[in-house]
């Protein structure tokens, strides 16, 4: 297996960030938190307040420029009750470019996205404390 230099990782991440922010439906990348297996029970949809969503990649890592707000539903709160288990990262047109059907876990679980509580109740709000993409 070939190896990527840090410069190459940064270039790949910057290209991915540009691709994620492309589209007219949302205008920029968004992060959806759903029930197991991307079922229809959407809980949260995080959208950055402005584009570009991500900072320029550095050291093979890329973090969001401004932490997205939860904008699911009219009240910006969860629109379903259940257990959060999967996530999608969508481009500006709402097409999923990155996904993990089992990527949500409790704090300390090592899951891609950790939550202090995965049991979500309808109407409950959420804060995205941190988010980054990186190439190991």
């Amino acid at each position: 297996m070939a190896t990527l230099s840090t410069a190459a990782k940064n270039a790949a991440l910057d290209a991915l960030a540009t691709r994620l922010d492309t589209g007219t439906t949302f205008g920029r990348a968004s992060i959806q938190i759903l029930t197991s297996g991307f079922a229809t029970g959407l809980f949260f949809n995080f959208l950055a307040t402005s584009s570009p969503t991500f900072n320029a990649a550095s050291g093979g890592s890329m973090s969001v420029r401004t932490l997205p707000n939860d904008w699911t539903g009219a009240s910006a709160d969860a629109i379903g009750t259940g257990v959060a288990a999967s996530y999608l990262i969508l481009d500006g047109n709402g097409a999923a470019l990155i996904s993990n059907a089992t990527g949500i876990g409790l704090t300390g679980s090592g899951a891609d996205i950790e939550m202090d509580n995965t049991n979500v109740r309808v109407g409950q709000g959420a804060i995205l404390d941190s988010f980054e993409l990186f190439i190991p």
Partner: protein, 60 residues
């Protein structure tokens, strides 16, 4: 053709804190109690003067 596999694997790392659970829907307040009906007999309004006893108008 030579194909070289590149180790491009994007890893996501995020953290989400849930807000407080939504408040329970408030119970509807019980309707205010209706005042107890006045059990005393209502006092009729005074009669007009011509209707007072002794003031009647007689006609042939």
């Amino acid at each position: 053709m030579i194909r070289i596999p590149l180790p491009i694997r994007v890893v996501t790392k995020g953290r989400i804190t849930l807000g407080p659970p939504p408040a329970q829907a408030s119970q509807p307040e019980p309707p205010e109690e209706e005042p107890a009906p006045d059990t005393q007999r209502a006092i009729p309004p005074p009669l007009p003067p011509e209707a007072q006893p002794g003031n009647g108008v007689w006609q042939r």
